[in-house]
Symmetry: C2
Subunit: 85 residues, 2 copies
């Protein structure tokens, strides 16, 4: 059975991942990347990959889920920035 | 001694927290909150507090540090948005 704190983690994962989505949708739709900082998103992507490695080490489902999805989304923003700069 | 994965976590904590700082500095300096979504930052703040609770449960120094600082910073952005809307 999944314990109480794992549920807290999964809710946290859902909320912080969801809060990243509007930016992705907006950029995907408008192709306007002028307001995005390439350096920031590359740095953020590296940070998220490190959180993912750390989460795998801790065997935390919440961290693995949240950081896998956020890694893909932030990498997609980096690609969009490179393509539509 | 602090182990290898804890160092990975601390570097991740440093990077993702640092990537949040430019927004805080910019908003603090300009008082321009027109581009900030109140709903998004309140939701994000709640998510970060849940990550903090989860990190305390996991006894993860990296998660406790990163989410404490990010909780304070995102709460400050919420306050700025309410004050300068």
């Amino acid at each position: 059975m999944i314990d109480f704190y794992e549920v807290i983690g999964l809710v946290a994962a859902f909320i912080t991942t969801a809060s990243f989505l509007p930016q992705v949708f907006k950029t995907h739709k408008t192709k306007d990347t002028s307001g995005l900082s390439l350096t920031m998103y590359i740095t953020f992507f590296i940070g998220i990959v490190l959180w993912l490695i750390y989460g795998i080490h801790l065997k935390s489902l919440a961290m693995i889920l949240a950081n896998s999805i956020t890694a893909v989304l932030s990498f997609y923003l980096v690609l969009m920035k490179l393509k539509y700069k």
